[in-house]
C-alpha cells in the first residue's frame, strides 16, 4: 500500500462513506446478524497486539524509527496478535450476543461510534483497500465508560449490490489495555 490515497470520484467516495456509516449504525443498533451479512465468508479479521519497542540506534533520525508497523504483532508475523479470526469466530461472537447467558453483554452494552478519515488506498480488480479511523464510546452497566480509538485497514470486495468486507485489520492505539474487553465488533 502506498502512502497516498488514490483518486476517487465524489460518487465513489460518497458510496464508501455511506457503507461505513451504515455499518456503524448496524453495530450501534445491535443488528449484528445484518452486520454479518456485510462480510465475505472468507473474511480475515485481525487485531495486532502493540508493543513498546526498543529504539534502534541505527534508525535514529529516520522515519522508520517512528514507524507504527514496527510496534505491531500482526497475523502475518511470528508474534501474537490479539485477534486473528475467521467468519466462524465472528459468527460465534454474533450468536453469543443473542443469548441471555452472555454475561458480559447482559444487560447489553451501549455503543456509539464515529467513523471517519475514509481513504481509498488501492484498487485491485474487484478488491479495494480502504483505511478508516474510529472512536467508539462504550458503556456497560456496572462498569466505567470507555473510549476505544483506532484505525481499520480493510479490504473490501466490490460486488453487485455493494461492498463486502473481505479483510479487516483493527489497529488499536494502545500497548497496555485498560478496557474491559477487546472482543467487540470494531
Amino acid at each position: 500500500m502506498t502512502d497516498q490515497a488514490i483518486a476517487t470520484s465524489p460518487e465513489e467516495q460518497r458510496a464508501l462513506e455511506r457503507f461505513y456509516y451504515y455499518e456503524a449504525r448496524l453495530l450501534d443498533s445491535r443488528q449484528y446478524q445484518d452486520w454479518l451479512a456485510l462480510l465475505t465468508e472468507d473474511v480475515r479479521y485481525s487485531m495486532p497486539s502493540r508493543v513498546n519497542v526498543q529504539v534502534d540506534n541505527r534508525e535514529r533520525g529516520k522515519q522508520q524509527m517512528l514507524s507504527v508497523a514496527r510496534e505491531l504483532e500482526g497475523p502475518e508475523g511470528s508474534g501474537n496478535p490479539l485477534r486473528d479470526e475467521s467468519y466462524v469466530h465472528l459468527m460465534l461472537r454474533v450468536e453469543r450476543a443473542y443469548k441471555i447467558n452472555s454475561w458480559s453483554e447482559n444487560p447489553p452494552a451501549r455503543t456509539r461510534r464515529m467513523v471517519g478519515n475514509v481513504e481509498l488506498m488501492a484498487r485491485r480488480d474487484d478488491e479495494w483497500d480502504v483505511l478508516s479511523n474510529f472512536q467508539l464510546f462504550y458503556a456497560r452497566p456496572g462498569s466505567r465508560d470507555v473510549i476505544y480509538s483506532g484505525q481499520r485497514n480493510d479490504t473490501l470486495r466490490v460486488a453487485e449490490g455493494g461492498y463486502r468486507i473481505a479483510r479487516r485489520e483493527v489497529v488499536l492505539d494502545y500497548a497496555e489495555i485498560e478496557k474491559p474487553t477487546l472482543g467487540l465488533l470494531f
Partner: protein, 428 residues
C-alpha cells in the same frame, strides 16, 4: 480498623472474608508475606536466547528486567536507576549492551552493574560504582526454561518449591522434544479486580465453565469433566485439573490442542501434527500421563497455565482492587512456523483480552471485587466449603486428589495464604 488475619479465614478455610479481597492492610501484608517470599515467574528462556536479550517482567508491583548477560547467565534487576529512580529500560523487550537512564545517562550493563556515571570526572571523590548497580533480584532459577525470581535470599530451590507440580507440568512440557516457546510479547490488560480471583479461576475452578460460559461451552463438556475429571493439590497453592481419558479413546479426543479453535479450523496439517505429538506421548511421558487431557494448572502464588488453550498467565497485583493480567500463547518449539501461527489462535480465540470466553471471566472478576467491598455484609463471608474433607491421596498420582467440584484447591491456597500473612503480621 485493620482486620486480624486469623479472623479472615476460618480453621478449615471453608469461609473466606470479603476483606481478603478488598482491604488495603491485607494487601500490604500480601506484598511482604507472599510476594517478598515466593518464587515469582519472570519469563521463559525462549524469550531471551542471546546475550543482551531482555524482557520486562513484574514481581508484584516491582518492575523487573529479565536479561541474558554477556556471560550467558540469566539476571533479573529492578528497573530503577540507583541515582534518581527512573526506569532505565522502556522497551517491552529487545537486545542491548546498556540500559541508560534518561535523566543523567547513568548506564548499566545488561547484568545490572553500573558502567558509567557521565558526571563523575568532574568531581574529586568518585563513587564506588561496584556498589551502585541496579538492585538485583537475589535468586533467579529456571526449570524447563521457566525462569523465576525471588526477593528472599533464603528461599528453597525452585525445584523443591515446585515439588510434585513438576510431575503434572511435565505431562505437558515433555510431550515436545524441544520443549515449548512463548509466542511474542505478553498480552497485558488491567482489570478492576483482585489478583487472587484470576489465580483461583485457573488453579482448579473448572466448574464455572459450563455455567458462566454456557453461551459457548456446551453442557456435554461439563459431563465429560464430571466423568473423567481429576483435581489435584500437590502442595497448598499448587494445583492441577485434568481429564484422564480412557485407554481406548480415539486420538482426537485425547491429543493436546485438538479441542481448541486453531486445530478445529486449521485443517489437516495442524491436525496431523497434533496426532504425531500424541502418537509419541506415551514414550515421552509414560502411558498414564499420555492420557492426560489437561485443564487448569496453578503455581503459587500467581502463575497459571491453561492446557486446553495453551496459555501461561500471571496475575500481577496493582493494589487490592486492580490487577494487571499478563498472558502468553505457548507453542511447541519444534513445530513448523505455519503450525505455530495456527496453534497460537488456540489461545487468542477464547482467551486474552479479546477472548470469547475470557471476556466473561474478566466481567465476573470485576463484579466479585464490587461484592467484596459491600458494607454490612462482613457476617456473610464467602462459602468455600464444597467437598470439604473429600480429597484423598491417590494410588497413581502425587498429591491430594478429588473430583473437580471439590473446592479444596482454593481452601488449600487460602490456608497457605493465611499462614504466610499471619507470619508477616507477626513481623516475621
Amino acid at each position: 480498623m485493620q482486620p486480624t488475619i486469623s479472623e479472615l479465614v476460618n480453621e478449615d478455610a471453608s469461609l473466606i472474608s470479603r476483606r481478603c479481597w478488598s482491604d488495603e492492610g491485607v494487601y500490604a501484608l500480601e506484598k511482604r508475606g507472599i510476594f517478598g517470599k515466593s518464587w515469582l515467574f519472570l519469563g521463559h528462556e525462549s524469550q531471551v536466547p542471546n546475550a543482551g536479550d531482555f524482557v520486562q517482567a513484574y514481581m508484584c508491583e516491582t518492575p523487573v528486567i529479565l536479561s541474558r548477560g554477556e556471560d550467558g547467565a540469566l539476571y533479573a534487576n529492578v528497573n530503577s536507576c540507583t541515582h534518581r529512580g527512573l526506569p532505565v529500560c522502556r522497551a517491552d523487550h529487545g537486545n542491548t549492551r546498556r540500559f541508560i537512564c534518561p535523566y543523567h545517562n547513568w548506564s548499566y550493563a545488561v547484568d545490572g552493574s553500573l558502567v558509567t556515571i557521565p558526571q563523575e570526572s568532574e568531581v574529586a571523590n568518585r563513587p564506588d560504582k561496584s556498589k551502585l548497580g541496579l538492585k538485583r533480584v537475589p535468586r533467579v532459577e529456571s526449570w524447563r526454561g521457566m525462569v523465576f525470581g525471588s526477593f528472599d535470599e533464603e528461599i528453597i530451590s525452585l525445584e523443591s518449591y515446585l515439588g510434585d507440580m513438576r510431575y503434572y507440568l511435565d505431562a505437558f512440557f515433555l510431550r515436545f522434544p524441544e520443549g515449548i516457546e512463548f509466542v511474542g510479547a505478553p498480552h497485558r490488560w488491567v482489570l478492576d479486580a483482585n489478583w487472587k480471583l484470576p489465580v483461583e479461576n485457573q488453579l482448579g475452578d473448572v466448574n464455572h465453565g459450563a455455567f458462566l460460559h454456557s453461551a459457548i461451552i456446551p453442557r456435554e463438556a461439563q459431563d465429560i469433566i464430571e466423568e473423567l475429571g481429576h483435581s489435584v493439590v500437590t502442595a497448598p497453592g499448587h494445583g492441577a485439573t485434568f481429564r484422564l481419558m480412557p485407554q481406548d479413546a480415539p486420538w482426537q479426543d485425547v491429543a493436546w490442542g485438538m479441542e481448541a479453535m486453531g486445530a478445529i479450523l486449521g485443517g489437516n496439517e495442524v491436525q496431523e501434527y497434533l496426532r504425531e505429538v500424541q502418537a509419541h506421548a506415551a514414550e515421552r511421558v509414560g502411558e498414564l500421563r499420555a492420557r492426560f487431557k489437561g485443564l487448569t494448572f496453578g503455581v503459587y502464588p500467581n502463575l497459571s497455565f491453561l492446557w486446553s488453550n495453551t496459555s501461561f498467565k500471571v496475575s500481577h497485583p496493582r493494589g487490592p482492587g486492580k490487577v494487571e493480567y499478563w498472558s502468553w500463547a505457548v507453542v511447541p518449539a519444534d513445530a513448523p512456523e505455519s503450525i505455530k501461527k495456527i496453534l497460537r489462535t488456540n489461545y487468542s480465540s477464547f482467551f486474552g483480552p479479546a477472548g470469547l470466553l475470557e471476556q466473561e471471566d474478566s466481567e465476573v472478576w470485576t463484579q466479585q471485587y464490587i461484592g467484596s467491598n459491600i458494607d454490612f455484609a462482613d457476617d456473610r463471608p464467602y462459602y468455600y466449603g464444597l467437598g470439604l474433607g473429600e480429597e484423598k491421596p491417590h494410588p497413581q498420582f502425587p498429591g491430594l486428589v478429588s473430583v473437580t467440584a471439590n473446592e479444596f484447591y482454593a481452601r488449600h491456597f487460602f490456608l497457605r495464604w493465611r499462614d504466610e500473612l499471619m507470619a508477616a503480621e507477626a513481623g516475621l
